[in-house]
């Protein structure tokens, strides 16, 4: 079999094999069970909590946990604005990079805060090493925030009635120390072995063999790239992200980064099953997510391998596939696979330029972010999926004439209202944003890098990526303007915090309700039938909301070739 296809299969299988034990470990960490790293981190965490004046054993209601989440995110935001707007005179700036403008700093801070990493700057010239290190902190912190929010939901869905759902600060810190930091550390070392730099030196001069004088940017890349993937952040150290030969030097690092970004989203699904002791349910969820993922990924691998038909017509050897914006060491098939992995799980790191993908590959990337529930970002992916479970429970309850119930809790009007608002918020942000950008060509027309339908897709992609907290882009878009920085900044905030608070609120309300033991009359939610039902809800909602706008962009572009 072709080695490039074999590479893709290996990436998927290895991720799954690692995610199973990791899921079990994650469940143990949040349960407070004994784990391997206790001797190192127990004393450290105790010290942190003592100094901070936090009692980690004090359990809070879901409301209090959400307030703590918002409070600490607010602190991170203020600190980020300060650092990014003052980098020029702060230390660790060997290349003398300038400070960011207020609107760029706003966009950058928000997008790292919400685990998106949209990056309207280039790492080589847009931030100092101090800026990079603070952004790296946010990559840990935002991933841990998502995981802590997911655990609040897990706690509410255990058997029985639960009014207090753990302590946010405790779950946040344990996510960092027990899961993200150790994994990042291992990965950082593997990356260094493969040639990824880890230094505080600035740009170096190099005279090429042909005699041209050029500069080479390096920096503390390995540590940054590790958490960038493990935390599904996706913000590149360099402008070209994981297409850059220092950020992703070999096929081995490409596999490593691919596995790292899908690892925790896979593992969280299994952790859910272990935590609430319903393993079958997590396999059903995993099945639906995998189906959705592969349904988008396989066509992209095929389309990118086949290449651009217009270039085939020019009469050259087009067997390598669509190589515009792609790297030889990675190849078209693995780039096509990555393009969907990074969009379903909201990493948004790229190893090839999405702007140059074939029209329908671009559409699949958009669809991956529009459905935003196949695996999803660390923690938040399962929160998004939970909304669709609630909708599916309600609809199937109506279809068979039973009271809608999920895990022994009745689902009533209030929960349904929240679920509907959150489900509709995502298309609203994307469509309203794109409509506004199209209505004010004065601010947006000159920022497009491509004419016609593809230019429209660039705008659509930017808002889709923001609303899904993804962070990849059709990067031709000249997005460092007040219009893009501010409008996507607000889409990012709404697209992050409401879809966290909504599902946690539903879970919190359900958790406080009386537990009704299952009976013959209960709708089973851990069956393939129910999995199919959830998938149908996701597909129908996405199709109804987004089909019209997709016809204006990628679908129209596709028909312009054929």
């Amino acid at each position: 079999m072709n080695t490039e296809i074999l590479g893709i299969i290996a990436m998927f299988v290895i991720t799954l094999l690692l995610a199973l034990p990791l899921g079990k470990y994650i469940a143990r960490v949040y349960n407070g069970d004994q784990t391997l790293l206790d001797p190192i981190f127990n004393p450290l965490e105790r010290l942190f909590f003592k100094i901070s004046g936090i009692n980690p054993y004090q359990e809070w209601s879901w409301q209090k946990n959400m307030i703590a989440l918002l409070a600490i995110n607010f602190v991170w935001f203020l600190l980020g604005m300060f650092i990014l707007m003052n980098m020029s005179w702060l230390p660790l700036n060997p290349d003398h990079n300038p400070s960011q403008s207020a609107h760029l700093a706003f966009n950058t801070t928000i997008s790292f805060l919400v685990n998106c990493n949209l990056q309207h700057y280039s790492g080589e010239s847009g931030v100092s090493y101090l800026g990079q290190l603070y952004l790296m902190f946010l990559q840990f912190a935002s991933a841990a925030t998502g995981m802590a929010a997911a655990v609040t939901l897990f706690r509410a869905l255990r058997k029985g009635t639960h009014k207090t759902l753990g302590n946010f600060f405790n779950d946040y810190l344990r996510s960092c120390t027990r899961i993200l930091l150790p994994l990042s550390f291992i990965m950082s070392i593997l990356l260094m072995f493969s040639g990824t730099p880890m230094t505080l030196e600035g740009k170096q001069q190099m005279i090429s063999l042909q005699g041209d004088t050029t500069q080479v940017s390096t920096g503390p890349v390995a540590a940054f790239v590790a958490i960038k993937h493990l935390g599904t952040n996706g913000g590149g150290f360099f402008g070209a992200n994981s297409a850059h030969p220092l950020e992703n030097p070999t096929y081995f690092t490409n596999m490593l980064e691919m596995i790292a970004q899908m690892l925790i989203p896979f593992a969280m699904v299994f952790a859910f099953g272990y935590f609430i002791q319903r393993k079958k349910l997590s396999w059903v969820i995993f099945g639906v997510m995998t189906f959705g993922f592969l349904a988008l990924a396989i066509p992209n691998v095929i389309m990118e391998s086949q290449g651009n038909p217009i270039i085939t017509q020019m009469g050259i050897n087009n067997e390598l596939g669509n190589m515009e914006g792609k790297e030889i060491r990675i190849g078209a098939p693995a780039s096509g696979y990555w393009s969907i992995a990074t969009t379903v799980i909201s990493t948004g790191s790229v190893n090839s330029m999405h702007d140059s993908f074939m029209p329908l590959s671009g559409m699949n990337q958009l669809l991956a972010m529009m459905t935003n529930s196949f695996f999803g970002g660390v923690g938040v992916g399962i929160l998004n999926y939970f909304i669709f479970i609630i909708l599916a429970v309600f609809i199937s309850g109506l279809m068979v004439g039973r009271t809608p119930e999920f895990l022994g809790k009745k689902i009533e009007a209030r929960e349904m209202k929240i679920a509907m608002i959150i489900a509709l918020l995502h298309p609203f942000l994307i469509l309203a944003g794109t409509a506004m950008a199209s209505s004010f060509p004065l601010y947006t027309a000159s920022t497009l890098n491509n004419p016609g339908f593809h230019g429209f897709s660039e705008m659509l992609y930017e808002y889709t990526s923001s609303a899904a907290n993804n962070g990849s882009g059709f990067e031709g878009l000249g997005d460092n303007t007040p219009w893009w920085n501010i409008s996507t900044g607000f889409v990012l905030i709404f697209g992050r915090f409401l879809p966290i608070i909504g599902p946690v609120a539903i879970a919190g309300i359900l958790g406080a309700k009386k537990y009704i033991p299952e009976s013959v009359g209960t709708l089973q939610t851990d069956t393939a039938t129910f999995g199919f039902m959830t998938l149908a809800v996701i597909v129908i909602l996405a199709a109804l909301a987004f089909f019209p706008v997709l016809t204006l962009g990628p679908i129209a572009e596709f028909f312009s070739i054929h």
Binding site: M198, G239, M255, I310, I316, E327, I328, F453, S560
Partner: protein, 189 residues
């Protein structure tokens, strides 16, 4: 909210010390034990130092060309062209690259030119080309350097980098390493 802010500030500062500080310092320490001290892998030849993973611009006819680049191989930055697949201006650029290649490589059929030689890479710094991209340049280099085609073919074969473990990923050739080896071969003849 206020009750949560002070603990949040303290926890933030401590987290930064751990996650941005200690983690970075330990990683930097480990990097010192790596070959090239974590400053990127280097190749030295004739007392000149090159980054092994950073592609270089090769436009002279006596060297194997590397791929087109949106940043002219200046690694102070990095970027792809971000041109869409149906953009007329982009398609003209590709056509122009095909025409230029044919001018510099007489005796080569259009159908022999592999797509990587006429499309820009994602980073603009791609250090590699495909085997076909090296092979199609043999004729030109053989003529200019006056080296038999067979020897250049053997040189290419020696420089092919196989897939990971022989199983995963594409075959490729590092253009810089190939050109450095070409210079040595040329001198030895």
């Amino acid at each position: 909210m206020k009750k949560y802010l002070l603990p949040a500030i303290k926890l933030t500062l401590l987290s930064i010390i751990l996650l941005s500080g200690i983690y970075t310092l330990i990683s930097l320490g480990i990097a010192q034990a790596m070959p090239d001290n974590g400053k990127g892998q280097k190749i030295t030849q004739n007392n000149k130092i090159y980054y092994a993973n950073i592609g270089q611009s090769f436009t002279n006819d006596q060297y194997f060309w590397s791929r087109p680049s949106a940043v002219a191989y200046n690694a102070a930055g990095s970027s792809g062209s971000n041109k869409g697949p149906t953009n007329p201006e982009y398609l003209q650029t590709v056509q122009a690259r095909i025409d230029t290649f044919l001018v510099h490589n007489p005796g080569i059929e259009k159908s022999q030119i592999p797509v990587d030689l006429v499309t820009a890479s994602g980073s603009g710094l791609d250090p590699d080309i495909s085997i076909e991209a090296a092979t199609v340049q043999i004729k030109r280099i053989s003529k200019i350097r006056n080296i038999p085609e067979k020897e250049i073919k053997q040189l290419i074969d020696r420089n092919i980098e196989k897939p990971l473990l022989g199983l995963f990923g594409p075959d490729k050739i590092n253009v810089l390493k190939l050109n450095l080896a070409l210079d040595i071969l040329d001198q030895s003849l």
